[in-house]
């Protein structure tokens, strides 16, 4: 038994993580002690201040992050090597924080539904009972959602930065548990929302179990949880390789569940549909970013030397995700479910990028790395998704949000601006040029093609065509179909939602027209450190 040594904590480099975690805890305290009337304002301000402070921290760290070891990557290993604060981590942190700010703004929206937020008045009240009616009448609302969001953000930051399997598992859980709760808090259609939360929780817990089992097997193989040491063990081919293979498979299940890849996609439509739309927006964008960061780190850093074991699996999963996502999305008649399946298809496209070359010394001049391509794609996808769901929350009828697609007919006449913005997000998701989605697709396709994964690229092209049909179908309904009955109405949002949508649209446009700076930023992020 070796003696326990207390790890040193690099407070400056971990500042963003600590701030987010601290603010989350502070939020719990506010919830306990502040009077009900003061909670909404103080929670929103606290959450935003925390996120902005963390963002400033990310920028400061990124400015003087040092070169690591041989110079191909930059960053440090913090807390005794359990957290890697490197270029990709910082990029993902910045992205998650930006999306979280948008998330808080959407959470705080109270203009759309007659002066109350999208969350249940009293979550513990059984739907349809007097207690629920009383809570609604008293205009109660759950302000716990802000600390919960902050905890989820903390998890989303820890998950991709984790440099050993145990920390990664902790990140996974911290990210997931608040989201399970948030999903069940919808104000309207509560049964659907609670069902979604339970489904998400059960399946999520199950996939966490897979991850943990895989971590145990890998530990059995390599004798360590640390990514660098696992990589070392794989390289030297020590131990029983069936442990490694089974362990890799089980870890993949956990991660692929989180990114929503086929065959672990079954939860996405139900959860996306049931969760309150602001939660869906934040979760869809944030989780995917964090989980892809973690997935790349695990596969590239820990299992990079065993590339030929997992690469064929990812080929198949990428192709399956694209096709299953795109085809099933076409059959949906609920806009949130449609976007859920489209996110499954996008998972496939991002996986195509993961398959590219990984190290910059393997590249010809002028080619981009997979990390660069995937980070860029995640940026484009994150903002487009956040914006799209924010628009979904605006289209309403008497019963709350109208998510049935055929009820969106005539939206182009009813509210040209909202319809145009939504159409723009859809075109971005379809990858039409002059939107960010096109440059993202270009980036991931070109890294995959450069790595010789042309069958996947061909499949991706065909899947893109199918997916394009689905987005165009929605645009056609909005613009060219005759409205059913009264047609949809568009609630006039407060500055909070409007800002989120405007920023989402602006990012989508700017990254489509002038993607250079962000591509360069993703390139400057460099590689993962070991």
């Amino acid at each position: 038994m070796t003696e326990f040594t207390k790890p040193s904590v690099e407070y400056f480099e971990l500042w963003p993580l600590l701030v987010v975690f601290g603010v989350a805890c502070l939020g719990v305290v506010v919830e306990a002690f502040a009077p009900r009337a003061a909670r909404y304002v103080s929670q929103v301000v606290l959450a935003l201040a925390g996120l902005v402070a963390a963002m400033v921290g990310v920028v400061l760290i990124a400015r003087d992050v040092t070169t690591y070891d041989d110079g191909a990557a930059r960053g440090i290993l913090a807390v005794g090597g359990t957290i890697a604060v490197d270029g990709p981590s910082l990029f993902i942190w910045g992205l998650v924080l930006a999306l979280a700010i948008g998330g808080v703004l959407l959470f705080a929206e109270r203009h759309l539904d007659g002066g109350s937020s999208a969350f249940a008045g009293q979550a513990s009240a059984v739907p349809g009972t007097d207690a629920e009616t009383a809570a609604l009448a008293a205009r109660r609302e759950h302000t716990e959602v802000y600390p919960l969001l902050m905890f989820a953000v903390f998890g989303m930051m820890l998950f991709p930065a984790a440099n050993d399997l145990l920390t990664m598992f902790v990140g996974l859980e911290v990210l997931s548990l608040p989201l399970y709760l948030l999903c069940g808090l919808a104000r309207r259609r509560r049964l659907l929302s609670q069902e979604a939360a339970l489904k998400y929780f059960l399946l999520g817990a199950f996939s966490s179990g897979f991850f943990l089992y895989g971590a145990a097997l890998i530990y059995g193989y390599a004798g360590s949880m640390d990514f660098a040491l696992i990589n070392e063990a794989v390289r030297n081919d020590v131990g029983n390789s069936s442990l490694l293979l089974i362990g890799t498979g089980l870890l993949s299940v956990g991660l692929l569940f989180k990114v929503g890849a086929v065959p672990f996609q079954a939860w996405t439509p139900d959860v996306y549909q049931g969760a309150p739309t602001p939660v869906t927006a934040f979760m869809a964008a944030g989780t995917k970013v964090a989980a892809f960061g973690a997935l790349m780190r695990l596969f590239y850093v820990a299992l990079g030397a065993d590339r030929w074991s997992w690469q064929p699996m990812l080929w198949i999963i990428a192709v399956l995700s694209m096709f299953v996502g795109a085809v099933l999305a076409i059959t949906q008649n609920d806009i949130k479910r449609l976007l859920a399946y489209s996110s499954v298809a996008h998972t496939g496209f991002i996986l195509t990028g993961v398959l590219g070359l990984q190290a910059s010394d393997q590249l010809a001049i002028g080619e981009i790395t997979s990390i660069q391509a995937v980070l860029f794609y995640l940026t484009t996808y994150g903002f487009a998704t956040l914006g799209a769901f924010a628009v979904v929350s605006l289209v309403r009828d008497a019963g709350g949000e109208t998510t049935a697609i055929d009820r969106w007919a005539g939206l182009g006449k009813e509210s040209p601006v909202v319809a145009a913005v939504f159409a723009f997000f859809l075109l971005a998701m379809a990858g039409i040029p002059l939107t960010s989605g096109f440059v993202g697709k270009l980036a991931v396709f070109s890294v995959a093609l450069a790595a010789g994964a042309w069958p996947v690229v061909v499949a991706a092209v065909i899947a893109s065509i199918i997916a394009a049909f689905l987005y165009i179908k929605v645009i056609k309904v909005m613009y060219f179909d005759e409205p059913v009955g009264d047609g949809p109405t568009v609630a006039y949002p407060s500055v909070l939602t409007a800002t989120t949508i405007a920023v989402g649209a602006a990012v989508t446009l700017v990254l489509g027209v002038l993607p250079g700076p962000v591509l360069d930023l993703a390139a400057a992020a460099g590689e993962f450190i070991r």
Binding site: I432, P433, S446
Partner: protein, 492 residues
């Protein structure tokens, strides 16, 4: 700089029109279209014959992907630019009242989308960076989609969707080839999307074939060619005639333009390899398009299908890989643009008057509207290649080149002239002659003013095609030299 101005003018015009007060929108839109026409004329006056790619501008756009904002025109590009800037004001004038009619999306939207489409089309014809070309190639689809879906007859939403799916499918297949080109250039040590850089790379023949297939599928859908033409008839039937002019006379030219510039220009070995298959497809398009056109009852659908036949001629001229064929094909692109625009617009005026597009329900129009009938007859005669009208020259050149290629190819192509006479004249007979069902008003001065320039151009270039040929010959010479076809005696 002039090319950037040429693209920016209609783009700014589109935005200005979209945000202008409704009363002012049309005038403003037309003003921008005319300004663009003038800019086009200025560009043409700066153009020097026989000097290759010119009026060039190059700026880095996305550095890490080797993408440039690079513009330039050769003779082919210049002619397409001129065709575009001339046709757009005519289409706007023709849609002046029609686009405001009940059930349509409003004149403001029509003018704004048309100008946006013009800007993107001009960018397509002047782009000399493959990715920039791809970007604007796809970007043309959005205004086109809203023009088809927003204006025209019932069922247009469906037609618009069909159009967009077809085009996007082609575009995405091409994207794979575009990225493939880039990977090839990166492996060759100079990663770039610039046409000039790419042309300097020697791509191995097998890779060329894959890339060729990707490009060709996209351009065949665009052009359109058999068997990927089925969007064409639906679109022209449901959209307004003005939109159809934009689509068939301008946008579809991107297909054949792309074949010349990308397939022949960048992938010469693969183009030679593919020639037999492409020639067969072109012949099928020529004959099939004409045959199907004969049986149509809907005037607009009929005209759309005749274009399938005409595009078959253009592709045939390109892929017989001879100077006569190439020159004929490019000349055909210009002539087809003028003749088909005339036909669509006159048919549009006719439909406005009769209230139906069904040939069966028309008849005897020439008694009450002789001027309209006259224009319609000339357009029809141009379509079937009457000597003295410009399509005759180009059609003859392509057919001569086809006979040079192989007598069988020539004899099949020549059949189309007979079929064309059949569909054009029979359509005229059924709509204009015979017992009159209703008497309709003749073309008024505005309408004559809109279509007269097209008629004049048809006659002018029918007798004096030399100015066009002078611009075309150097392009054909350069392109064929790239493919490795020696040209007897050089060009004039």
């Amino acid at each position: 700089m002039i090319l950037t101005i040429l693209i920016l003018l209609p783009l700014v015009g589109a935005l200005a029109t979209a945000f202008a007060p409704a009363a002012l929108a049309r005038t403003l839109g037309l003003g921008f279209a005319v300004a663009t026409l003038l800019a086009g004329v200025v560009a043409a006056s700066q153009y020097e014959l026989d000097a290759g790619m010119q009026l060039t501008e190059t700026h880095t756009w996305i550095e890490s992907l080797g993408v440039h904002y690079a513009l330039g025109v050769d003779g082919l590009g210049l002619l397409m630019v001129l065709l575009t800037v001339v046709l757009v004001p005519i289409v706007l004038l023709a849609g002046w009242r029609e686009s405001d009619a009940a059930g349509n999306g409003g004149a403001k939207a029509f003018f704004a989308w048309t100008l946006a489409l013009e800007a993107m089309s001009l960018a397509v014809f002047t782009a000399t960076d493959v990715l920039l070309f791809y970007v604007v190639f796809e970007a043309t689809l959005i205004p086109a989609y809203f023009l088809i879906g927003g204006f025209g007859r019932a069922g247009r939403g469906r037609a618009a969707t069909k159009f967009l799916i077809y085009q996007l499918a082609g575009g995405l297949v091409m994207l794979a080839s575009v990225i493939g080109l880039y990977v090839v250039s990166a492996n060759a040590g100079n990663p770039s999307f610039l046409l000039s850089d790419l042309a300097a790379i020697d791509i191995d023949p097998i890779t060329q074939r894959w890339l060729f297939v990707g490009f060709f599928i996209a351009f065949a859908i665009k052009a359109p060619m058999f068997p990927v033409h089925t969007w064409l008839a639906d679109t022209t039937e449901k959209a307004t005639p003005g939109t159809s002019v934009l689509l068939v006379c301008i946008l579809d030219k991107i297909g054949t333009f792309g074949m010349l510039r990308f397939c022949l220009g960048l992938l010469p070995d693969a183009s030679q390899w593919a020639t037999p298959a492409v020639v067969v497809l072109a012949l099928i398009s020529i004959i099939y398009g004409a045959l199907v056109a004969i049986g149509q009852d809907d005037v607009l659908r009929l005209i759309g299908l005749t274009s399938l036949s005409h595009f078959g001629f253009i592709v045939l001229g390109i892929f017989v890989l001879s100077p006569t064929g190439g020159t004929g094909a490019i000349l055909y692109m210009v002539n087809h643009g003028i003749a088909t625009a005339l036909m669509f617009l006159v048919a549009g005026f006719l439909i406005q008057r009769t209230g139906t597009a069904s040939i069966r329900e028309m008849g005897g129009v020439e008694k009450s509207a002789p001027v309209l009938a006259g224009f319609f007859l000339v357009a029809g005669l141009a379509a079937c290649g009457l000597p003295g009208l410009s399509p005759f020259v180009s059609e003859m050149m392509v057919i001569i080149a086809a006979f040079d290629h192989h007598w069988l190819v020539g004899s099949v192509a020549v059949l189309a002239i007979v079929l064309a006479a059949f569909y054009a004249l029979w359509m005229y007979q059924r709509t204009m002659t015979g017992p009159g069902l209703v008497s309709v008003a003749d073309l008024d001065r505005r309408e004559v003013g809109i279509v007269a320039p097209l008629l004049l151009a048809l006659v002018l270039f029918g007798f004096f095609p030399m100015p066009l040929l002078d611009v075309i010959n150097p392009v054909v010479h350069d392109t064929l030299a790239g493919v490795g076809i020696a040209q007897e005696g050089g060009h004039q």
